[in-house]
């Protein structure tokens, strides 16, 4: 496969994309970049970069999936970083001037290398407890909604409303 790709074989690339396109999209990109359009752009960029840098891939070292996944994660992080920077710029201007009496954040906190699992946990911790519980039960533990409602001690309809609100609130704090 790699040899054919290096020879510019389009059919080989179509095969590769058929194998890994969707897993990369769902497994590596969407959890980090849940907006579909951005995620699709990221997917497109990932494979484009991979094709351009095929020579840097060493087949004996690893599966090409992990190589692709690494590229995808980097791309997703980059999109986040840019959007965060943009937001920070806007925030900086929109924020009122202040006396700067707040202590600087703990540097060690900023050094954390967070994977998406940590980020989900962090985001959930910032939600209302019931919202976090609803998301955990239904979407993370994948329990049936009837069971979720029972655990939470609410009616099915109420649980649906809580879950809906929880999802909406979650997106506002995710990624943290």
């Amino acid at each position: 496969m790699i040899t054919r790709l290096r020879q510019g074989d389009r059919a080989a690339f179509a095969t590769l994309y058929g194998w890994y396109g969707d897993p990369i999209f769902r497994q590596a990109i969407l959890p980090r970049l849940p907006n579909l359009e951005l995620a699709e752009d990221c997917l497109r960029d990932t494979f484009r970069t991979a094709l351009e840098k095929l020579d840097s891939f060493h087949v004996e070292d690893r599966s090409i999936f992990f190589w692709l996944r690494r590229i995808a994660i980097n791309k997703a992080i980059d999109v986040h970083r840019r959007s965060k920077r943009d937001q920070a710029l806007s925030d900086a201007v929109r924020a009122q001037p202040e006396p700067l009496t707040q202590p600087l954040p703990d540097p060690s906190r900023r050094l954390e290398v967070q994977d998406t699992r940590d980020e989900v946990t962090l985001s959930l911790s910032r939600l209302n407890d019931r919202y976090a519980e609803a998301l955990r039960l239904r979407l993370i533990e994948d329990r049936p909604r009837e069971e979720c409602a029972e655990v939470m001690g609410v009616t099915l309809g109420n649980f649906d409303v809580i879950l809906h609100r929880a999802a909406k609130a979650f997106r506002k704090v995710y990624p943290p």
Partner: protein, 507 residues
């Protein structure tokens, strides 16, 4: 649609098969939360092999023409959407392809700048070109070492000019500002200029009448001892960018129909995403793609997320070992009480102030105006502000600028705003729209570190770059006013914010 109805739709969708299309009425936020936690619920990516191949600019697939045979999506149920639809909502920050916005921006720049270049004296054009190149050359020296230090960061850069996601979109955003560069924005600042022009400050010390009154109270423009010169001194800036003569910085706003230096500078410095930064960024991406961490990963089969359950429950494979997301500058709170405390607290924090900052008491007549501060400032904040990508610089300069952005973000995330500002201040360069965007952050960081004098100097450096009526200029004036206010100069802060508000109105 009522919340209950949406909740019901969400429940039904989650009961359905993975990948099924959600109801149109469901909130985007809700959908994205579900996609983040349960990506198997998302529809298939609408990206085809041809979409990907069309963007390849190097390697064995670079010359490949799209074929009909390979145009099927990864999964067959998606339509092909070649152009982004989302970027305007995020201020144009994302990965993507060539956009109409980018083309429009390029066209606007060409239309606006062309006449300016043609009408400018030839010697001046040459001087501008030489100046711009000098400025870029100074950065290019650092580019190689910057790249060596940042293989990971560079990995995420777009490798082609045309496909640079944020690049084109931010340029698209900047386009209208360029087009409206000379519109209005004239008389609004004349009054302030006249008032401040009375200052005896020599022009060599101040880029404009706005800043001159502040320069009186500050030390000469020298870099603080013990730190590498974090900003470009005003005199040096004027040398490098001779077309931006200090006396003309705001004067040109008064000539509504005349092209400004801003446009010409943008043309020289920019080149733009369509002509610039591809090669260098592509080279940087090579480093990143072949970076060591991948070698640590097991060559094992992947676990697909679509097999049920949540990736969050262990379905996700190995954690991204370098998934560091540098946080933005620390966000502060306590806005309600801070204005009352600002002068004293700022002085207490500004141990590095080389000279006492003017206090509010120096402007007794302005005390009463403190009540209008919030309103004036609110009107000064540009609603259309967006980040300007360093790719506007093109080539090696773009790489060097991006490296400084990455390093300063990291320093800020480590709680070193002073260091961050020092690094980032080297990005206060032409074109003005970029330099002023960068200057905003530098001013904020300096102010955050309590180095108010440097904050104001950085603001003036940014203001010296150009006077085109852009959101970035307004934003910089807002930040400048903040720094002034923190130093106790409420009156001038008000005036600066009023100027920004006037620019906003005229834009």
């Amino acid at each position: 649609m009522s919340s209950e109805r949406q909740a019901d739709q969400l429940a039904r969708w989650l009961e359905g098969a993975p990948g099924s299309q959600p109801e149109d009425a469901l909130d985007q936020d809700v959908l994205e939360a579900i996609y983040a936690l349960r990506p198997e619920r998302a529809p298939a990516a609408r990206v085809t092999v041809d979409d990907i191949l069309a963007g390849v600019t190097e390697g064995p697939f670079a010359a490949a023409a799209p074929s009909a045979a390979a145009s099927a999506p990864a999964e067959a149920n998606g339509e092909v959407i070649p152009l982004r639809r989302w970027w305007p909502a995020l201020g144009g920050l994302a990965a993507g392809g060539l956009t109409l916005g980018g083309l429009a921006a390029a066209a606007l720049v060409a239309l606006t700048v062309g006449p300016a270049l043609l009408s400018a004296p030839e010697a001046e054009q040459a001087a501008v070109r030489a100046g711009s190149h000098d400025g870029v050359a100074a950065l290019e020296d650092t580019a190689a070492s910057e790249r060596a230090r940042r293989p990971r960061a560079a990995a995420t850069q777009p490798t082609t000019a045309g496909s640079g996601p944020s690049d084109l979109s931010t340029r698209g955003g900047a386009g209208p500002a360029v087009a409206s560069n000379n519109q209005g924005a004239t008389g609004q600042i004349a009054d302030l200029d006249q008032r401040l022009a009375a200052s005896p400050t020599p022009l060599a010390q101040a880029p404009s009448a706005v800043t001159s009154s502040i320069a009186v109270a500050e030390a000469p423009s020298a870099a603080p001892a013990g730190r590498p010169g974090p900003y470009r001194p005003i005199a040096e800036a004027a040398e490098i960018y001779p077309a931006v003569a200090e006396a003309e910085i705001f004067a040109d706003l008064e000539a509504e129909d005349e092209p400004t230096d801003y446009d010409a500078d943008d043309a020289f410095g920019g080149g733009g995403a369509a002509s610039g930064g591809s090669a260098g960024l592509g080279a940087a991406a090579v480093d990143a793609v072949s970076s060591p961490p991948m070698r640590d990963e097991p060559a094992a089969p992947f676990e697909g997320a679509a097999t049920g359950g949540s990736w969050y429950q262990g379905k996700e494979d190995a954690a991204p070992e370098a998934a560091t997301l540098p946080s933005s500058a620390p966000k502060r709170t306590g806005r309600d009480s801070r204005r009352e405390e600002s002068s004293g607290a700022a002085r207490a924090l500004s141990a590095e102030e080389p000279s006492p900052a003017p206090t509010a008491a120096a402007h007794p007549t302005e005390d009463a105006s403190s009540i209008e501060l919030p309103a004036v400032r609110a009107s000064a904040v540009p609603r259309d502000l967006s980040l300007v990508s360093p790719t506007i610089l093109g080539g090696e300069a773009a790489i060097a600028a991006q490296a400084r952005i990455d390093r300063s973000d990291t320093l800020a995330s480590l709680g070193d705003p002073l260091g961050a500002a020092g690094v980032r201040s080297a990005n206060i360069i032409q074109p003005a729209v970029f330099g002023q965007s960068e200057a905003i952050q530098v001013v904020r960081w300096y102010a955050q570190a309590g180095a108010l004098s440097e904050a104001r100097r950085a603001a003036r450096d940014g203001l010296a770059l150009g006077s085109g009526n852009t959101p970035q200029l307004s934003g910089l004036l807002v930040a400048y006013g903040d720094a002034l206010l923190l130093g106790g100069d409420q009156a001038t802060a008000l005036e600066v914010w009023r100027k920004a508000a006037a620019l906003n109105s005229a834009r």
